[in-house]
Amino acid sequence: MADETTPPPSPEASAPPAAEAKKEAPKKVEAADASAHPWVESIRAAVPEAVLSAKEFVRQITVTVAREKIRDVARHLKDREDFRYCVDVTAVDWKQRKPRFEVVYHFYSFSKNDRIRIKCGVDEGEEVPSIATLYLAANWPERETYDMFGIRFAGHPDLQRILTWEGFHGHPLRKDFPVEGIDTGAAIYPEEWPEGGGPSPNDPNRKVVS
């Protein structure tokens, strides 16, 4: 067991290429197209029409996949490519873009000793298939993403707010949520405030509680 999960004790696989990349271009580092990378090829072969784009930046592979296919891609990565450790799930709010949000997954493989980043776009009102039953580690990060961005994960066993309290209005990490916070009265007396947040940021009578 220990042998199987222990990464090969050869630092030459990871350390020197990073140093090389730095020496090559210390000032200008640009993302390169990575659609020919073996992992990307493997995803493309296993889950057709899933890969939308792939890029490489400072030796980190980012693959953008279709939202509906994320569970299949994750299953393929876990079972076939040995990415057994789900490092993190989070999201980015691109306010002007369409789709508005990007859900970002990081997976790590002990045998490859490398990470892969999978992204999928999701718009407001759309749901992302949950991978929480596939990777138990994704349970809380998905809840946090729901809490902070309001992105719903379909099939999550317990999709509730985790950092803010039940009954809190709004999703704090959205770009349109005020940094100063909202009037907590919105949560305590929801009947006085409209659904989806406290009073408008332009309201001169707005009480700020932070």
Binding site: M1, A2, T5, T6, P7, P9, P11, S14, A15, K22, A25, P26, K27, V29, E30, A31, F57, V58, Q60, T62, R84, Y85, C86, V87, D88, T90, V92, D93, V104, H106, F110, N113, R115, R117, Y135, L136, A137, A138, N139, W140, P141, E144, M148, R161, I162, L163, T164, W165, P172, L173, F177, V179, G181
Partner: protein, 408 residues
């Protein structure tokens, strides 16, 4: 609760004695069938399952962790952590301030290990910028990291000892922690919220005499660690409270995303300092301590061994220390390219990572933290199931959570 094979003869006799006394004194719990007789109405004491709130002000929860327990007598049927009491929106604050202004916020996440948080944050931005860190800065960063690991493990050792009734190790552990905090205070003026790293290097050079005093401290440290081990390692009470409590296998650890001493206590020799070396860890000689059983006792042993290794690493770094620059070539206004990057380090609790998305401006568009405590706490319901309430205290201690990092 205890494994026959791992107890000595004397401990086995003691266990038998207590079991006999429990039965003779009529202290055994009645079986489920014998409790509720159909003729009389059930009273409060007949209820098999009840809900119990544990925390958020309970001292053993190390902060403000609330657990909603379903218990049958003393036995835990299920535990549901309720977190967020310390949520301050750190990730939102990162977005509103420039890159260097984000560093002090990281101090307030894992507040017993501020240096490692600073390090992970700076490393992420440096990776985005492609900055080369000078050799001296790398070595001092590693020294600060390992000092912080020592101090974090000492806090863990002292407090989880107290949780299980061992008050004495606390005083020993905090004696050394005090010295470490003095080193930090001399270096950067702060003891807890250090803010001791900058993007591209370090804010200050070392003060005169610091290195010599640290060398003295590090040389003395193994004998101090022997003192803690004398108090706990073969302590019969400590062993009975920790051996075979909260066993988790290596596969499950990976499934739950557990990292750090928990993963190593289950037999996986995985440490980011060795797997994905950052700074100058690849040239340093140290061992990744592992144990096979994956229980609370093994995680204790792993952490104590890690402290010995940290002392070794610090000594090696001090030997290699040479004069030189402490900051790399970083522009005055930090405007990284519009890209995204993830970088992580081995914090005392596990993998601490930052995911940074830049849009080319002087503020991060999105800065996400992957906190080890938050992810590790997920496994608490799994660990606690079937144990007694008093073991829950041992389990919260063994995960080594800091609620500032869980809630951010």
């Amino acid at each position: 609760m205890t494994d026959e094979k791992r107890l000595t003869e004397a401990e086995k006799q003691e266990a038998d004695y207590f079991a006999r006394r429990m039965t003779e004194g009529g202290l055994t719990r009645p079986t489920a069938g014998a409790v509720a007789e159909p003729s009389k109405p059930p009273t409060l004491f007949d209820v098999q399952e009840m809900e119990l709130n544990f925390g958020p002000q309970h001292p053993s929860t190390h902060g403000v962790l609330r657990l909603v327990l379903k218990v049958d007598g003393e036995k835990i049927i299920s535990a549901r952590p309720d977190i967020g009491y310390l949520h301050r929106g750190t990730e939102k604050l990162f977005e509103t301030e420039t890159y260097p202004m984000g560093i002090p916020h990281t101090d307030r996440m894992d507040y017993v290990a501020a240096a490692t948080n600073n390090h992970a944050f700076c490393l992420t931005v440096e990776k985005l910028l492609g900055v080369e860190i000078p050799r001296r800065a790398q070595l001092v960063r590693v020294i600060l990291d390992e000092l912080q690991r020592l101090s974090s493990h000492l806090v863990w050792l002292g407090t989880s000892g107290i949780d299980l009734g061992a008050v004495t190790p606390f005083w020993y552990a905090f004696r050394e922690r005090e010295q470490i905090l003095d080193f930090f205070e001399e270096y950067c003026g702060a003891r807890l919220t250090l803010n001791c790293m900058r993007i591209g290097g370090l804010p200050f050079d070392l003060t005169p005499g610091w290195v010599a005093r640290l060398l003295e401290f590090v040389d003395d440290l193994p004998s101090r660690i022997n003192e803690y081990e004398e108090l706990l390692t073969d302590n019969r009470i400590w062993k009975r409270r920790t051996v075979d409590v909260g066993v988790i296998s290596a596969e499950e650890c990976i499934e739950y995303g557990l990292t750090g001493p928990i993963l190593r206590g289950s037999g996986v020799a995985w440490d980011l300092r060795r797997a994905v070396p950052y700074e100058c860890y690849d040239e340093l000689d140290f061992v990744i301590p592992t144990r096979q059983n994956g229980d609370t006792y093994d995680r204790y042993i792993v952490r104590v061994q890690e402290m010995r290794q940290s002392a070794r690493i610090i000594r090696q770094c001090l030997d290699r220390l040479e004069e030189g620059e402490i900051r790399g070539k970083v522009p005055r206004v930090i405007k990284p390219p519009a890209e995204e990057v993830y970088a992580s380090i081995e914090s005392p609790k596990g993998e601490l990572g930052f995911y940074c998305v830049s849009n080319g401006s002087n503020r991060p568009y999105r800065m996400h933290c992957r906190p080890p405590s938050f992810i590790n706490l997920q496994a608490l319901p799994r660990l606690a199931k079937g144990h007694l309430i008093s073991d829950l205290v041992a389990l919260i201690g063994t995960i080594d959570i800091v609620l500032g990092e869980v809630d951010r």
